[in-house]
Amino acid sequence: HDNVGGSDTDIIALKNYMDAQYFGEIGIGTPPQKFTVIFDTGSSNLWVPSAKCYFSVACLFHSKYKSGHSSTYKKNGKSAAIHYGTGAISGFFSQDHVKLGDLVVKEQDFIEATREPSITFLAAKFDGILGLGFQEISVGNAVPVWYSMVNQGLVKEPVFSFWFNRNAEEEEGGEIVFGGVDSNHYKGEHTYVPVTEKGYWQFDMGDVLIGGATTGFCAGGCSAIADSGTSLLAGPTTVIAQINHAIGASGVLSQECKTVVSQYGKTILDMLVAEAKPQKICSQIGLCSFDGTRDVSMGIESVVDKNTDKSSSGLHDTVCSACEMAVVWMQNQLRQNLTEDRILNYVNELCERIPSPMGESAVDCSSLASMPRVSFTIGGKVFELSPEQYVLQVGEGVAAQCISGFMALDVPPPRGPLWILGDVFMGHYHTVFDFGNMTVGFAEAA
């Protein structure tokens, strides 16, 4: 009962719910049991943790559906599993009423998750996922919630729309509107493009421009998916490399590794030459803590210490890892009797080759003003993003780190080359999903 088709599975696997930032509340059952879910246009099932989830730690930390407490529950029992790129869930289908806003969708099939082995769901701020994609990619061919809303005549028009509030100063996260669009949340007119591949909200996209100049690769056409369940913007490496070059992006770990080498490289070398214990070096210079046998990251204890700045603790984790790697590399080089300069140069080069976790790239927070605008051509119109819109700031003050909103994703033809337009794009462009006309529309968000 996996997602249909091999190629579709590839795309689902790219989803990154860990960084999903927007979620809303729904009720399941009578009386309604509340759940916080991600409204995800890139998948099509509804699932929430089940009260019968006993062996997954993630279930302990989230709301669980108790069928015995609902007068409208109907048993189904068919097993189901969904594999995402950052985790998997399994369980069984059930049927009950689902409350969205003031609206009640009757007899909705959904998955009661009895296993959530992934850390993604353990650490997640949301309980489950409500898919707003097409039934074609629905696990178990379950009828998606949105289809039920249309079939039961609960919405005026077969249209839903997203508005994400990217204003960091404001509490309000945004709004999903079922049945139409809220004119308060966009400016001007929407540009509509036809859905080209039913399953995902996929459409044809044209050239991608950096500072107004073509990147060439998509000039002949690419595909794109509007995906509210993904945080960043993902696209072909050929284009992302050009963007990274233009904005000075490098892998997150690469950057921190280079910082460690430039600031502590000589000290680490000196300590190795002085025959200090390699396992203790990073804690001795303050980049890790020591657990009695070896250096360890300082992040975990900081998480439970509410008085500690969470942002800085995360930074220490990667710095500690970078330091540990540098120690091992330098130790190896010292055995070959190389000069100090050659060792530091070599280690610096190794830093550049560290694969970036989750494909994220870091940029210099102080260089935003000099970064170019990046534009996407959709329906013959250019949709621009400024550096402030495509760069995400993580943490505050001295611990602040800036993450590029772009990551590489290579999907071969015929489905690719493909772009995933996640929250970074949808945050700036109010997005309409028109189920009746099979179109997707974008207008500047207000």
Partner: protein, 43 residues
Amino acid sequence: ASNDGLIRVGLKKRKLDHVDRLAGHIDTKEGELSGASVRNYRL
């Protein structure tokens, strides 16, 4: 629901932070942790 017949569901948002991102990084398929992750993150 409102007068205009639209059904609105408010969304909450959260701020990305280093700890959340790193929790994502140590995640692997089927929830199994690689040796490197266990080593790096003391799990």
